[in-house]
């Protein structure tokens, strides 16, 4: 288990001070979390065995400053904000891993300025829309009764119990606000023009997907890989949308193999 430290960084004309969780040592890697918020999980622990992991919290979701999100109006602002955050962390060109919403952001960062992202790992990212495979709007799904079905391969299993077992109001508040702050950039349909920009990605790219993802169906893997030259898809069996929790070891090994 690595030691995780919280580092507060101030960017964007001193208006936003996100918390960045930092752990491990070795070459740097950035992890961008999904719409539900940053949870330091065994996958990140594994990653921190060989790397310095930087996991920033999405603006507005760090404790004490929920209104920070008001300083970023749109996706363009958010992309530039991340470059500033990378600058503040001393990261000129860095591998970026993104999960779900964070995956879309990782792809946007790699497409907007290919020099900032040296390698790209997209874990079941959003960012595309197919009418034949609509993505359920996670912000309108009941967290208690329905969310496990959409997020997990086994909605009754131990991961489900750990994530949704005993709802703690403070955790609920964090999760709701994180969905609010990430939803700002993708409501009501998570297709905000990545298809016009994705061809600009130059970073070697690994696309990871759970074969049983019921939130962002696995057909979307092809949408990404066909548009990113030289990218590779790894389809994980018996895996849902949060496969880093369901298959931490396996995912860590795949990512490690790709990064090294």
């Amino acid at each position: 288990m690595s030691t995780v430290t919280d580092r507060r960084v101030t960017v964007w004309q001193n208006k936003i001070s996100p918390n960045v969780k930092v752990a491990g040592s070795g070459s740097p890697v950035v992890f961008l979390h999904g719409a539900g918020g940053l949870i330091w999980d065994p996958f990140l622990d594994k990653l921190a065995e060989r790397h310095t992991v930087y996991a920033p919290e999405h603006p507005g979701t760090s404790s004490g400053d929920p209104d920070a999100i008001a300083h970023l109006d749109n996706l363009w602002d958010l992309v530039l904000y991340y470059y500033e955050l990378f600058d503040a962390l001393g990261l000129k060109s860095v591998p970026v891993i993104g999960h779900s919403f964070g995956g879309m952001m990782a792809a946007e960062l790699a497409a907007s300025n290919p020099e900032r992202v040296s390698k790209l790992v997209l874990m079941c990212p959003i960012g595309f829309w197919r009418d034949d495979a609509p993505i359920p709007n996670w912000m309108t799904i009941s967290p208690a009764s329905d969310m496990p079905k959409y997020l997990l391969y086994d909605p009754e299993g131990p991961v489900a119990k750990q994530m949704f077992g005993a709802p703690d109001p403070e955790m609920q508040i964090r999760m709701i606000w994180c969905m609010a702050c990430t939803g700002k950039f993708v409501w009501p349909i998570p297709d905000k023009g990545l298809k016009k920009r994705i061809h600009r990605i130059k970073a070697p790219t690994l696309v990871l997907w759970g074969s049983d993802d019921r939130l962002v169906p696995a057909v979307y893997a092809e949408e990404f890989s066909s548009r990113i030259p030289g990218s590779r898809v790894e389809m994980l069996g018996q895996a849902g949308h949060v496969f880093t929790l369901e298959h931490a070891e396996k995912v860590a090994a795949l990512v490690e193999g790709f990064l090294s």
């Binding site: 912000m139 109001p169 508040i173 709701i176 609010a180 700002k184």
Partner: protein
């Protein structure tokens, strides 16, 4: 006391097993399975007739509202309704309480400034301008507005509308959500500097502050009677008013109440029981998570609601309740004129409400019963409520031309 008649224009004939067969009355209820366009035309016309009957019976105001993609109340355009009502109530001392067109979902929002000004002009200065935020189902899901931007858009639209009404010169609007190079509204409202503004709400603390700050009237649309939640809302609202240095004028507060009047209490149960249950069981059949879409409430209101889920508990318990419970918990006031009179007096006194709104058509109520309710209410109940507050306060949130004559020296 000023009493306005509210109408939702609901589907009156949903199947008995509606709430078991369908996930929601809002957003996803399939029109072609559940409704017939011609029959719906009849509902609209009954609604007009009922509101006009209320105006003729002495209702101080008649209220329309905006909702989308649902069978709970489907006036997608309250101002189309208001236009017919403005024309049909010419010569009556009845305000048009448009409560109203949703600010964040109207693009550009000067459309509301224009339509309200038209209504004020057509009605001869009888408009009350409701500025609703809109429900998450209407605005976020049906109209696609980003939840976390809803309140911010609202505030900008509010400022733009007021400026469009009052500016003497053409002006540019360089907003965050709306950019208009040259704003020069035609027509302008008759009421100067602008019609009174009411802000409907369901208990968000940030709305209290916004209302008090701008010196508007707050209307609590609760459906949950005046026990627990309403008392908490009352305390917080008046405390907020005091914080902003506002007086205790009871006309700062509006409240919506479901009311059914019959000859006796027993007859009222016979008349209204099934319609009240229809309203609560079918009309409010909405997945609770849709009422709390992340971002629809600001952080503090959301955190308060998660830590103290009184409203959510009320909502979750509705399907268990029967008519007697709704009466017992004062969600509805049904009974003889004397019963309803006493309860409404107690409500208005307890909550310090000067602008009472009554829902006299409830759920599946047929047209004839609605007319009976309207007639009994305004003949037997309303007259004894009217004197409340009148000796001490003036209703500054009411069209000047329609204000009751206040005694000399009454605080404005």
């Amino acid at each position: 006391m000023y009493i306005s008649t509210f109408h939702l224009m609901p589907h009156r004939e949903l199947p008995d097993d509606f709430e078991k067969r369908y996930k929601s009355i809002w957003v996803t209820a399939p029109f072609h399975e559940l409704a017939d366009p011609k029959r719906v035309g009849q509902y609209y016309n009954w609604t007009f007739d009922e509101l006009i009957a209320a105006a003729k019976a002495g209702s101080d105001g008649i209220c329309t509202n905006e909702h989308h993609q649902n069978a709970y109340g489907f006036m997608p355009s309250p101002n189309m309704m208001g236009s017919v009502l403005a024309r049909s109530t010419q010569g009556l001392n009845c305000a048009l309480v448009q409560i109203g067109a949703s600010l964040p979902g109207t693009q550009p929002p000067i459309r509301i400034a224009e339509e309200y000004a038209m209504l004020d002009a057509i009605s001869g200065g009888r408009l009350v301008a409701g500025f609703p935020l809109g429900t998450p189902m209407d605005i976020n899901i049906c109209y696609g507005i980003t939840p976390i931007e809803q309140r911010d858009r609202y505030r900008e639209a509010h400022d733009l509308i007021l400026k469009a009404w009052t500016a003497k010169e053409v002006f540019p609007w360089n907003g965050k959500y709306f950019q208009l190079g040259q704003v020069n509204l035609w027509p302008r409202p008759i009421q100067q500097p602008h019609p009174p503004v009411w802000i409907p709400g369901s208990g968000s603390t940030s709305t209290f502050a916004y209302t008090a700050e701008h010196d508007h009237c707050y209307c609590f649309l609760s459906y949950f009677g005046f026990k627990s939640v309403s008392l908490a809302v009352r305390d917080k609202y008046w405390e907020t008013c005091a914080k902003f240095g506002r007086d205790e004028n009871p006309y700062r507060m509006g409240f919506l109440q479901l009311v059914g009047v019959s000859e006796t209490d027993a007859q009222a149960e016979k008349d209204y029981a099934k319609h009240v249950e229809y309203f609560y069981h079918k009309g409010l059949h909405v997945p609770p998570e849709w009422l709390g879409i992340p971002g629809h409430q600001d952080y503090q209101s959301m955190a308060n609601a998660v830590r103290n889920p009184a409203m959510a508990r009320n909502f979750a318990a509705l399907k268990e309740k029967r008519f007697k419970d709704f009466v017992e918990d004062k969600f509805v006031m049904c009974g003889s004129p004397a019963t309803v009179r006493d309860q409404l007096k107690e409500l208005c006194k307890t909550l310090r409400v000067g602008n009472l709104m009554v829902l006299l058509h409830i759920g599946s109520m047929p047209h004839d019963l609605t007319l009976k309710n309207i007639s009994l209410f305004f003949q037997e109940v309303a007259p004894s409520l009217r004197p409340m507050w009148e000796d001490d306060w003036e209703n500054r949130w009411w069209p000047q031309a329609l204000r009751h004559k206040a005694p000399e020296g009454v605080a404005a």
